[in-house]
Amino acid sequence: MINFTHFPVIAVMGLFLCAFLVEIFGAKNKYIRNTIALVAAFGAFALIAALIKPVFVDGNVISYWMGNWTPVGGYAIGIGYEIDALNLFFALLVVTTVLLSGIYSVKYMERDHHLGHYYTLYLMLSGSVLGLVLTGDIFNMFVMIEIMTFASVALTAFRNNKLGALEGAFKYLIIGSVGSSLTLSGIALLYAQCHTLNMSQLSAALATGLSPTTILAFALMFAGFGVKSYIVPFHAPAADAYMAAPTSVSMLFSGMVNKAGVYGMIRLTYVIFRAMDLSSVQLLLVTLGTVTMFIGVTMALAQHNFKRLLAFHSISQIGYVITAIGLGTALGLSSGIFHAMNHTLFKGLLFLTAGAVLYATGTCDLDRLGGLSKRMPKTTICFLIGAFSISGLPPFNGFASKWMIYQSTFAKATETGNFGYAFATIVALVVSVMTLASFIKVTQAVFFGQLPENLKEVREVPLLMRIPMWIMSALCILSGVFYNFVAKYLLTPATNAAFNVTNYIDKMMGEGYAAANGITETAIGFSPLDLWNPVLWLILFAIVLISVCIVILTGEKERGRTLVKTDADPEDGKYATFFGGEASTHSHVGGSDLFWGFKHDFKGYFKFIQGMHSGVVNDYALWVVVATALITVFMFIFVR
């Protein structure tokens, strides 16, 4: 019998240790450097994956006290790690992202200098996010947030000769630090009231009700985690940082850094404050989430840079997640974390394809690309899979999770009779179409259309960069088609864990501790709905697809003709693009020319919202301060 209790801490420490080993031993030799980094990433992945059986299948909660500082007399002073299914769910996302991004970095970053620094920061970022999601101590969480912010800022500025890298890093640092300070003040106030930093004990201590101090603490920490998950209006620096950072790092940002914020939000509202049965908190989260998804997607429609567009989509998709977890129902939470997982997969995939385009062509400007599908067919297929996933087309994974989100929001609306939740459903559906629209824009502007002269020599990216893309694509399809398995083995335990506060407290503080403090929530026994049978559906799809293809292809062959004349004379006008009789010239409809009909009708809105994203760091800080003030006022008035 293996003792699993040490695994999480070894995973976190291993990443931190290797972060420095890379710099010491690998500064000169790239093989040693890559080996150390990949071994660390794979080690963390293996250690966390080994916990799937004890936590998800057997339903254990792993508790670990640093230096064996177990609670004395009901007071937890030492730092504890506590891993239930919810932590582990997010930890799995983290380690998967780290591993795939690590593999991708090997080739993607090879043209840069000082890669020792890069891997140090990369592993520190990974370790801090992993520590953040695994820890059971709220101050430890704050420290991890700070390490995360540092590493993110430094990585954003890593290619500091690129446009906006320094600027993006600076804004990220300022807003991130303001957010961290808010979190820290909240933690301090909580400590003043409860005299503990352990999340389980805090939850038990807060069971007696909220005092004005704890409400203020709640508001500040809520805003702090809001900054970390980049919900509107805290989102502005995220777009800059995602755009400016190297793509392998952008993938880390959207794949795990903002998921850490989401995790913090879930832990804060569901476990520590157990506030999700308050309709005011639900309303606040759903409102913020709905606004986030709408503003994110409309900003994305207006972008001209591939990575910046993806960054705004990250914000928009986090809006879906926040909306879903804000419902406070088991279905809502499970759909939220499912969408968080899917977002990690498809947004990671999309960032990787953006990185591939950047690697191959040297630009991410949508107006200067075009026709790359002929030069980079494999990347194109990966991109299309990612784009269809994020737009929620069946049978990809985005469809399953978005479907669950619509179902849960509308169910909430009918349950409470509150029309606002139905409005959230409608916004979610419309945002989904707009997401599709902006990816059509990318498809047309980057991969299809006509190839510019200066990109004629572009070549497909190396195999080592394609492997993570294929893995991500496969995961996107598998988690969509075999949705039932994901729901049964991952979502259900995680959702039950978030609601089962008693178990969380008792496993950490000793049996009966929660009951002694008057907490009675136990397992809610949530089980996933049998929504649809995608396997049958896929089989049907395959049958028809194959049969139709056979009909077309054999029909052509019988007549003794091939479909494509690859050796056709290039001068033959028959195979040239139709230009209404004019001579054939390069004429590509770029990304910014699309959708003007739509933008024309909304020109007032677009002018306003683009003006709001002024790029001045003071404005962004002002948004954070005003939003925090509003949240605080809201909490004081409505949270009881």
Partner: protein
């Protein structure tokens, strides 16, 4: 033995009825009716009723030209993907109670499946590399955004009406509800939603005056400009099938209460209702309206049609 029977039954569903063969024939028939009635409205004789069949087979026999700028695989796969999703969609739509694929999520699945043919057209046009297609796909996408909002609200209205406090996204249940309670069209609070849905159908199918994406007189059929031969035939077939699917969806949502007891008879009734709906919402509007500009189209759908749908949703929400 049982497995073989299941496979054969499913294959029959997919390939013959109500799948591939059935939708193709009915779709092309509806397209023929549309053309014939339109011609009579314009005091022309018009083509024979089965002209779309002739057109289809003629195009199937023509050479398929793939331009140099096109991405071959995507260019050829796009029409087929759109066609397949349309066929699958038909399996979800119950013919007055009979539906081979029924889940409790039909409406949302249909909503997304409906986007696939449009996406296939967009991606196919995009892959052809033509600037005309570029403009066409942009318009197609804006059209899609335009009609999606009212369509969503209409579907939610029906789901709320049928499900009551628990919502109902299952088309078979909607059908059963109407057989018990009478067709939803008889309910006055749903009439604005029905009108909104009738206005969504021509935009979804892409007939005049909402055919801005294909506007053959200004951008040479937009996304289809480079298509020829079999792929073009399939795209034309897709449009015809879409006519049938959308009108059939309307029938299920609002006329679901009819049941004669025989599947064949039910199917005939369905086709008849679809033909009438086609004439009302496509041929008639086609005959009397000129093509809209894209920004007018968008504005029309997000104001007039959305308000109509929203009125119904609010009325239904209030329990009327």
């Amino acid at each position: 033995m049982e497995i073989i029977t299941t496979i054969f039954t499913n294959a029959f569903y997919v390939l013959v009825f109500p799948g591939l063969l059935f939708v193709a024939i009915v779709g092309l028939l509806l397209a023929g009716i549309d053309r014939k009635v339109l011609a009579r409205m314009q005091k022309r004789v018009g083509p024979p009723l089965i002209q779309p069949f002739y057109d289809f087979f003629k195009l199937m026999g023509k050479e398929t030209i793939i331009p140099h700028a096109a991405n071959r695989r995507v260019f050829l796969a796009a029409p087929v993907v759109g066609f397949v999703s349309l066929v699958v969609m038909m399996l979800f739509i119950p013919i007055f109670g009979f539906s081979p694929l029924s889940t409790n999520a039909d409406l949302i699945i249909l909503l997304y499946l409906l986007t696939i043919p449009a996406v296939a057209l967009i991606v196919g046009g995009s892959a052809s590399g033509s600037p005309y297609a570029g403009i066409g796909i942009s318009r197609e996408m804006v059209t899609m955004m335009a009609y999606e909002l009212p369509l969503v609200i209409v579907l939610l209205t029906v789901a709320r009406k049928v499900g009551g406090s628990t919502l109902c996204f299952s088309l078979s249940e909607i059908s059963l509800f109407q057989q018990a309670e009478g067709s939803l069209i008889t309910n006055w609070s749903l009439i604005p939603a029905a009108i909104a849905m009738l206005l969504v159908i021509p935009a979804e199918v892409g007939t005049q005056p909402f055919d801005v994406a294909e506007a053959e007189t200004e951008i040479c059929e937009g996304p289809l400009v480079e298509y020829s031969g079999a792929p073009l035939a399939i795209f034309k077939l897709n449009t015809a099938i879409k006519m049938f699917i959308m009108t059939a969806l309307f029938t299920v949502l609002f006329f679901g209460g009819i049941d004669t007891g025989f599947i064949a008879l039910n199917a005939l009734v369905l086709v008849a209702i679809c033909a009438v709906l086609t004439v009302i919402c496509m041929t008639l509007i086609h005959a009397i309206c000129a093509r809209l500009k894209i920004e007018h189209l968008f504005k029309f759908y997000w104001t007039v049609v959305t308000v109509l749908a929203a009125i119904s949703l609010i009325l239904v929400w209030l329990g009327l």
